[in-house]
Subunit: 333 residues, 2 copies
């Protein structure tokens, strides 16, 4: 039921839970939050904006929206090797639906507590379209961080988890025509992976002393590898067959083998892409799969070891030059 | 001319200027920015979302939008007594107009350099309506800040600058019917005050050792005084005649004396409201005018010294309970 309420009541009712980090001296409720980081703390700051109908389908559940808004930002902290500290949320609401807000805020709190990231501020405004902007602040030991630019020729290229599930889940969510018929459990799994991405915080932290470069995979595997290559001034040789896929995605590929291009160009997986120097021994708990290696060559070039032709379009473009884009480009991270 | 471009080109072209603060170790271009604050630094964090047609008229110049997006956030830092360090910008764009972006980015850089606030990150996405979300980070000496809750009975209540110009400027911008006829210079001044609010950073910093409480005036003078009273558990006695108005606003009031209610309930002035203990001697360089004092009484009550009836509605409501609101409520800070 739509239920117009006063903004200040709204904030007080739904977004006022206690902060847990001792560094957060003052959270929601004043002109600004106050943080007192211990000496020697390096802070990592990242921001992402999500818009209904562009970054998630219009009928997405409020729980999934709340989860996503925090998860995609925390994924950026994971990619730096940082630990979450706090976040701000700007929320543009087309209407104030008390039930929607309660569900959204409850899931946001669940995520905040699970990932250890305190809500430290926000703004709620009226908007013609549901819009969320989250800024996360994380902490790192002084002088440390996993940037995109530290990789060297000879490093292995590896990814966490499985690649491509979210792109397939999106195709299902949008009801694309002539999709392969999947088992109900596989279809549900792919939708779940789209709606509830998991920031790889523990792996990012564990890799901080070991990886030479990292970023998260939000715009498409090939495109994001391209960002790492551009920052590190390298090329890459990858093995398409080595890219880890989930059993659900494998079921899809069995029906439609040519769809491997969807998996390597679709966004929203929020897995980590990391470069590992040759001397680093990979710990199984990191959950990594090696998919290739970095080489000297034309900066940004990616070639397949078996010389397969890779898709020209490597991933999501936010402002496509052509209006005839496929639906998958309406979603990014 | 609308000119669709690639997001990464767009960022590189318009939003990649060097950071100046030594604390900013890594600004735009990786998964997250990196800050290395000196030991003993307290950080203040605030965020605001602005939506075209709600927080500024649709035909507002890109320069005014860029100025406003940064200024209204910096006003929150000013109200804490903090010094700007860096900011993130999330930008939802209905189209990518190269000329618009160039003008917007140029003014943003002007503001960033003038106020000493480095752009440390951002996100640009497609959106059906122009949407901006800025998060600012400022610094304070350890243990210090001007909060809303420190005022005591007997403190003087004071404001910076002039109150109400932005509300009158908005009425002009929206072309409200039957407004008073003003001199061209007065009309231009009021529009300028709406479009180019000035964060009171120097005054905020100067008041840090002296004021007992502060906040900025963004939702309407009476409403924002109410926030201070609620946080400090006090009432206030004010003198409407003491509220400082600009010569342009005075010209308006001469034609329409009853419009004093607009001035005390209109938002967007971004002046500071401060509480000053009796022993503090007011330095003229702070630019303050005393408008009343804080008293014990029903929390949040505001009464006029001459017992004039104050407006029921004290300021802007983001989600009004009634659809029959006046146009002024579409704008807030």
């Amino acid at each position: 039921m739509a239920c117009p309420v006063d903004e200040f009541d709204l904030i007080a009712r739904h977004f006022d839970w206690p902060a847990r980090h001792p560094e957060v001296s003052l959270a929601v409720g004043d002109d600004a939050a106050l943080l007192d980081p211990p000496p020697g703390t390096r802070l990592a700051v990242s921001t992402d904006m999500l818009i209904a109908g562009r970054h998630f389908p219009l009928d997405t559940a409020p729980e999934a929206i709340a989860h996503r808004a925090l998860a995609v930002n925390l994924s950026d902290l994971a990619a730096m090797g940082a630990s979450p500290l706090g976040f701000t949320l700007s929320l543009g609401l087309p209407q104030t639906d008390a039930d929607w807000l309660a569900r959204f805020a409850s899931q946001l709190r669940t995520g905040a507590e699970r990932w250890g990231c305190d809500l430290i501020g926000g703004d709620t405004v009226g908007s013609p379209v549901l819009t969320l902007s989250v800024t996360v602040i994380g902490s790192l030991p002084a002088g440390k961080a996993l940037t995109r630019g530290g990789a060297r020729a000879g490093d292995r290229l590896a990814v966490t988890g499985h690649i491509g599930d979210a792109a397939l889940g999106l195709a299902l969510a949008l009801g694309e025509e002539s999709l392969p018929v999947l088992s109900p459990s596989a279809a549900a799994y792919l939708r779940e992976r789209l709606d509830y991405p998991e920031p790889r915080l523990a792996t990012g932290r564990a890799l901080l002393p070991h990886a030479s470069a990292a970023l998260d995979c939000s715009d498409g595997l090939l495109q994001d590898i391209g960002h790492l290559l551009a920052s590190s001034d390298l090329a890459a040789e990858i093995d398409i067959d080595a890219i880890p896929v989930s059993p659900a995605a494998a079921e899809w590929l069995e029906a439609r083998p040519a769809d491997w291009t969807r998996l390597v160009t679709g966004g929203d997986d929020y897995e980590l892409i990391v470069a590992l120097p040759p001397e680093v021994e990979i710990d199984p708990v990191w959950g990594l799969t090696v998919i290739g290696r970095l080489v000297d060559g034309p900066t940004g070039e990616i070639r397949d070891r078996q010389a397969r032709t890779l898709p020209q379009r490597r991933g999501y473009t936010h402002f496509p030059a052509s209006p005839s884009v496929d639906k998958g480009e309406d979603v990014n991270g």
